[in-house]
Amino acid sequence: MPRVHVPNQAARRFTGGQTELEVEANTVRRLILELDRRFPGLGHQIDEGMALAIDGEIFQDAYLAQLNPDSEIYLIPKIGGG
């Protein structure tokens, strides 16, 4: 099952302090929906301000991105640039 790492601040706000979660999902969209179902508001927070590092590669605004059963996902701030 994909494993999601939640930053400390988001964990304090949404997950009761849990920084590692296992989530049954095979796409980013399903991951966000499931996280929001379990921790209301976290999905919106991800949509508005976070990127996902999936197995070392950063995805932003990418609902279609695929997850593997052993995917490691880190929630990080969205990246812009100059």
Binding site: I58, I79, G81, G82
Partner: protein, 762 residues
């Protein structure tokens, strides 16, 4: 998507002349300020002379009465916007703040903050009218310095700003908008394992992006509300969206047409003039043109953040890093939103440090709201970390480049912010630097050599591109991303490579918001990667269509046609015996075979591939004057695959030059009232040609497998290492460690005195 190996590429990797080059060097290119329309009015902005004040009243009667004045606007002409945070443009954005940055409401928050604007029949009348506007201010105490702004008794800019990211939620307002942190491993244990611990404090100044072209626009609102905006920006879709939001109108009402852009570097990812011109055009029914002066650019548009960086490093005697900690305090300017997040993530990104912690603070003060600047946030934190690493190398007696090599992050290493690195080229840049002839060049008296490394994420995102085949077999490529660094050339090259025709037969253009699908702005080193992906896919669709048309002409199956060297060929003997059909012949018969041949593709590109760089800098210090001469500079960078090597080298050279300016001279100087004293290029010293040597750009090509030609973003990471590289070189030259930027002659002189006078007294 297919990755085309380097050996098969015929156009990509060559150096054709850029399609926009002749117009630019002959002065014919149309920049933002070149647009003229019949019946056009001129807009000017009335700006605050105070760093912090409450607006008690604005008297516009005298200005309105001046002959030639057609409109006067204030914040009352804009709808109030509730606080609403979103990630748009190049970072977190609050549209209430954006509205109030364009036109102050209730309070002015920095010297130069807009309080009113005038549209008149001439620039002189508009300026005179601005003089006639009287504003009653209640002047408030102000704060400029980031650490002073963080103190509990500092003047508060926003009484509804409470620090995010701390528990319990604060009950008192603060200038600290946000605290953010990243941790890895066990920091205390890491420092306990260390044989040497070093702890230092550094600072760098907010600097301007210093694009040559000031902000400029023309806006025309028709009687039915249809609005056209011509402006110079890093994103016509960004201009359209922000104006619609700030003025409460539908996006469909606005067509934004991009002008040529005379530099942006992140500073043109926001709007300043466009909503004012739109409001005044809507009032008057006439086009309104606005052009900033250089002084206005400095006083009122976004600088890059400055920062205070506290770094602590622990290492074994052999140089193995055991722990790293950093505290970053970033200037956001008048509204929250400094790039402290990426600053935190970039600080230790180059290194495999098992135990690390970075804490960042986003701090408001009475300066203009910061805007993005190449690799926003990364140069600040990297200056601290890369300087501290040099001090650690000195203490350990280890060569600075060898220390970096020993601790270099490689594939499989987990970064502080979480991801496990894959396909990164940092170690290759260190290796290439180590073996470069530059490292063997002898140094003379008062000369020194410094090295430093840097990282930037690079991004992809939404891009659209269209490929049209003309009747004569030439092609047009239209994209939705402004060309800042030569992207039209690289788009034409990628399309030409796929179509199999000479690049000169492909005409690339930047299309307006009504002519191409949505595209995110030009920034984040994303255009060659993301728009290049859309362009390539559009060209591939066109090739598929060309094969179908050839099949129709030959009356065979499309599967029996292959495309090579710009021609359709029968795919083997079974397909039949036909002379190859050149693109031009197929194009000529396009009407008869089904109509125009064209394709548009929109993508949301992922997998941009991170960028790493290692720089070598030689300096000579004049100890009498404190003047630092850059003798030689070599910048090694993992560029993925260079589509047009000259423009990759140009990006590297430009970024390095801006980094040298940040290192040596650039800073905002405020008087005791918080007024900017150096809003012009005479007193704000950017590097000019004699200040820098020819910068040797060394391209390490570690292809990005997610791009059809292997490209990575290249435009941002070059500005990350220079500040530390120069500081480390100065220390190597004369043994003086500069921990506060800029290292300008007076400051360096003072540092030399501070070090040498006590010795002399002994």
């Amino acid at each position: 998507m297919t990755y085309m190996p380097k050996e098969l590429q015929k156009v990509v990797g060559t150096r054709p002349i850029r399609p926009d080059g002749v117009d630019k060097v002959t002065g014919k290119a149309n920049f933002g300020a070149d647009m003229v329309m019949p019946g056009m009015l001129w807009g000017k902005v009335k700006r605050s002379p105070h760093a912090h004040a409450r607006i008690m009243a604005i008297h516009t009667e005298k200005a309105r009465a001046l002959p030639g004045v057609k409109a006067v606007i204030t914040a009352e002409d804009f709808p109030p916007i509730p606080s609403e945070e979103a990630f748009v443009g190049e970072g977190p954005m609050n549209f209430r703040d954006l509205s109030r940055n364009c036109m102050a409401r209730d309070k002015v928050l920095y010297d130069g903050h807009a309080v009113a604007a005038v549209a008149a029949t001439s620039p002189a009348i508009a300026e005179e009218a601005c003089e006639l506007i009287e504003v009653d201010y209640h002047v408030l105490p102000h704060v400029i310095d980031v650490e002073e702004a963080m103190t509990p008794d500092a003047p508060l800019l926003h009484d509804d700003l409470f620090t995010q990211g701390v528990e319990p939620k604060p009950t008192h307002a603060s200038n600290v908008a946000k605290q953010i942190g990243f941790t890895k491993g066990d920091l205390d244990a890491g420092f306990r394992q260390a044989d040497v611990i070093i702890e230092r404090r550094y600072s760098n100044a907010p600097v301007h992006q210093a694009y040559i072209e000031p902000h400029a626009c023309v806006v025309s609102v028709a009687a039915d509300g249809q609005t056209t905006i011509w402006s110079s920006s890093q994103g016509q879709f960004m201009v359209r969206a922000y104006c619609a939001k700030l003025l409460g109108i539908d996006i469909s009402q606005i067509r934004a047409i991009p002008a040529e852009i005379g530099g942006g570097f992140g500073g043109k990812t926001l709007i300043y003039l466009e909503p004012l011109a739109l409001a005044m055009s809507r009032k008057t029914g006439r086009p309104v043109k606005m052009v900033m002066s250089r002084e206005e650019v400095f006083r009122a548009t976004g600088p890059a953040a400055g920062a205070v960086i506290e770094v602590k490093l622990g290492a074994k005697k052999d140089g193995t890093l055991t722990a790293g900690e950093a505290v970053l305090k970033y200037q956001a300017g008048a509204f929250p939103g400094s790039p402290v997040g990426p600053g935190c993530m970039c600080a230790f990104a180059m290194y495999d440090i098992p135990n690390a912690k970075v804490t960042g603070y986003d701090v408001v003060s009475n300066r203009p709201k910061v805007a993005a600047y190449r690799a926003p946030g990364a140069p600040n934190s990297s200056y601290g970390v890369e300087s501290c690493l040099d001090e650690l190398a000195d203490q350990l007696g280890i060569d600075p480049l060898a220390l970096r090599e020993k601790n270099a992050a490689k594939d499989g290493v987990k970064a502080l912010h979480g991801p496990t690195w894959q396909n990164i080229g940092y170690a290759a840049t260190v290796e290439a630097a180590k073996n470069h002839p530059h490292m063997k060049q002898p140094l003379g008296p008062n000369q020194g050599r410094g090295v430093a490394s840097g990282f930037w994420f690079n991004i992809g995102g939404e891009s659209s591109a269209a490929c049209h085949i003309n009747e004569d077999g030439t092609a047009v490529v239209a994209v939705g991303t402004p060309d800042i660094g030569g992207s039209r050339a690289s788009m034409a090259m990628m399309a030409a490579e796929i179509l199999g025709i000479p690049v000169e037969r492909v005409r690339p253009i930047v299309a307006d918001t009504s002519s191409i699908g949505f595209s995110f702005l030009t920034g984040g080193s994303r255009v060659t990667f993301a728009t290049g992906m859309a362009t390539t896919q559009a060209a591939e669709k066109v090739v598929e269509e060309l094969k179908k048309r050839a099949a129709m002409i030959w009356d065979i199956s499309p599967d029996a046609v292959e495309w090579k060297d710009g021609k359709a060929w029968p795919a083997g003997a079974n397909a039949g015996s036909f002379e190859p059909l050149p693109l031009a012949e197929i194009a000529l018969k396009a009407g008869r075979t089904g109509g125009p041949i064209t394709a548009e593709v929109s993508v949301n590109a992922q997998g941009a591939g991170p960028g790493f760089a290692t720089h070598i800098c030689d300096v000579e210090v004049d100890k009498e004057t404190g003047y630092v001469k850059i003798l030689r500079y070599t910048a090694v960078q993992d560029v993925g695959r260079a589509i047009h090597p000259s423009y990759v080298e140009g990006q590297i050279q430009g970024g390095v030059t801006q980094g040298i300016g940040w290192a040596l001279n650039e800073e905002y100087i405020y008087d005791k009232h918080g007024r900017l004293e150096n809003p012009g290029f005479l007193d704000y010293r950017v590097p000019v040609a004699p200040d820098v040597p020819m910068i040797d750009a060394v391209m390490v090509e570690n292809a990005n497998p997610r791009h059809p030609f292997g490209a990575r973003g290249v435009g941002e990471v070059p500005i990350v290492p220079p500040m530390a590289a120069v500081a480390n070189a100065i220390n190597d030259a004369i043994g003086v460690r500069m921990r506060d930027l800029p290292m300008s002659p007076p400051r360096l002189r003072a540092a030399i005195d501070a070090q040498e006078l006590p010795r002399a007294a002994e």
